[in-house]
């Protein structure tokens, strides 16, 4: 068995892993190694051939592969190393156990950065009734089959869920000559970004059925149809008004779950709200030498945010091994009224940097004020004219406000009267 030592090991070479590794190298970590199970660098960005990446980080509109390639060059010139085709199996005390075609590898490290990304929710997660035919894919799997392998997956397509990948695949399949009959969404609002509805659905006149769901799937070998029904206010299907849409393909774009099987082996505490690790503003988990960033921590909508937050994880991991990362009693940050979840969930007081809190709201709303308060003190407020759960938003806490913080921080959303 091979065994060697690194300053920092990063699990995953997607946008989170690459940005964290580069930041760690630039902040004094000598040997930084990425472990990647795929045969190439870049993670899911490699299959996201559509544009819309990098508007914030690079101030230009890039496709996924271009965004990945830029970070690949950054990593190369920063002297980051990688092990491809290698799977991380288990986190032990300052050691990562991996396997590849040469056998088992033990990597001893000073700090570990988790950047494994997320997985798609499947039909099993939804428990849709009906038969079990071929032709049902998660949207991301369909994306990989079409964009990387060049397969044709079907001709008449229904998409369940108005998540971004589902809408992007609606456009992609239409360009590839398929007939996308409908995008079906349980909620009364779009769950992905509005720009994707305009450029992926409206551009190609693909119908979006809000407050609808799929109540049956038929077909023996191949899927033949789905039964669609509107839902009432309690999201119960109204079966009397159901109807059949014939199709040979069903795509599911019904949410993403952070992929934390590895984190659990290292006893990293997870949040039951984000399904990712509980971290402080340094992206440090409950296990002090383990850091987490990107979609393994909480599901983001924009890769630019992932890169920025992952740089924090990389810098912090480098400071940790140098013994300069602040330690202290942590203060909780909790979601108040109208907030679904928030990240980071902890603050170590006394840092020298402002903190960006990322959050999602529970319901779409207009004219709301986001407030972070600690006891009687208001730490930060922000007015937002329109917000939906489909958009991750941020609130910044200044260094001055953090200095003498002692009480739990509550972030809440409230309607503002009389403002337009």
């Amino acid at each position: 068995m091979k065994e060697f030592l690194c300053d920092i090991v990063v699990v995953g070479s997607g946008p989170a892993g690459l940005a964290a590794a580069v930041a760690a190298r630039k902040n004094g970590a000598e040997k930084v190694l990425i472990v990647e199970r795929d045969i190439s660098i870049g993670g899911i960005l490699q299959q996201c051939i559509h544009p819309g990446f990098g508007l914030e980080y690079f101030d230009e509109e890039l496709t996924g592969p271009e965004y990945a390639q830029r970070f690949f060059y950054k990593a190369q010139s920063a002297g980051v190393e990688w092990l491809l085709d290698t799977t991380a199996l288990e986190i032990r005390e300052k050691q990562l156990v991996c396997v590849n075609r040469d056998g088992m590898i033990k990597i001893n490290f000073g700090a570990l950065i988790l950047a494994m990304g997320c997985r798609e929710r499947t039909r099993a997660n939804l428990a849709i009734p009906g038969s079990r035919p071929a032709g049902i894919y998660t949207a991301g799997t369909a994306q990989k089959l079409i964009n990387i392998y060049g397969h044709r997956i079907g001709k008449d397509v229904v998409i369940l869920g108005s998540g971004d990948i589902g809408m992007i695949m609606a456009r992609r399949l239409t360009l590839e000559g398929a007939n996308v009959k409908a995008v079906v969404e349980l909620m009364p609002y779009l769950t992905g970004l509005k720009r994707n509805k305009v450029q992926c659905l409206d551009d190609f006149e693909i119908p979006l059925l809000l407050s609808h769901t799929i109540v049956d799937i038929t077909g023996t070998d191949r899927i033949e149809s789905v039964t669609v029904a509107p839902v009432d206010d309690e999201k119960r299907p109204i079966l009397e008004r159901s109807y059949i849409i014939p199709c040979d393909t069903l795509l599911l774009s019904v949410g993403l779950i952070p992929e934390n099987e590895l984190s659990k082996t290292g006893n990293v505490a997870l949040s039951n709200m984000t399904n990712g690790a509980i971290v402080n503003q340094f992206m440090q988990t409950s296990v002090p030498y383990v850091f987490a960033c990107g979609n393994v921590l909480h599901v983001n909508d924009l890769v630019d945010n992932v890169s920025i937050e992952s740089e924090t994880a990389g810098v912090s991991a480098a400071r940790y091994i140098q013994g300069t990362l602040p330690v202290g009693t942590m203060i909780d940050i909790i979601p108040g009224s109208g907030i679904r979840h928030i990240c980071p969930q902890k603050i170590v007081p006394g840092g020298n940097d402002r903190i960006t809190l990322y959050f999602r709201v529970a319901e779409p709303a207009s004219n709301i004020c986001i407030t972070a308060s600690a006891g009687q003190r208001i730490l930060a407020t922000r007015y937002i004219s329109y917000i939906s759960p489909g958009t991750m938003e941020k609130l910044i806490l200044s260094v001055e406000q953090l200095a003498s913080l002692e009480e739990t921080v509550i972030v809440s959303a409230e309607l503002v009267e009389g403002r337009k």
């Binding site: 051939i49 544009p51 592969p65 390639q69 964009n147 590839e176």
Partner: protein, 121 residues
């Protein structure tokens, strides 16, 4: 001529009404900022999109090369761009930004490679 346009510049998603007649010229309503008005005008007069797709490639460690237009093309030409791109097949190595189809359909936009694919060893 009259069109309803959803602004995509920011999450507000303003619903704009854009109307043109010879008597009144171009009239836009429902926007909340200048960027929105500019977007509404462009969407009404000449909507354009970045075109992306993938092209068969042999000799690389994947079967398809992602490609894009280096500048936006008229929205109504997206399907025709797809037909042109389908005619192509590539051989690795191909470098990022290498031109695959110059000036596609006389739009002034080149179809270029979105990534570097080396020859498989």
């Amino acid at each position: 001529m009259r069109k309803s346009i959803t602004c995509i510049i920011c999450p507000n998603g303003c619903q704009m009404k854009v109307e043109y007649s010879e008597a009144t010229g171009l009239q836009i309503a429902g926007f909340r900022c200048e960027r929105g008005a500019e977007y509404g005008k462009n969407e009404f007069c000449r909507p354009k999109r970045i075109f992306t797709s993938s092209v068969k490639i042999s000799g690389a460690n994947r079967g398809m090369m992602p490609v894009r237009s280096n500048r936006p093309v008229p929205k109504e030409k997206l399907m025709d761009c797809m037909k042109e791109v389908k005619k192509i097949s590539l051989n690795a190595p191909i470098l990022e930004r290498q031109v695959i189809i110059p000036d596609i359909l006389n739009t002034g936009a080149d179809i270029i490679a979105s990534m570097t694919l080396e020859r498989k060893k």
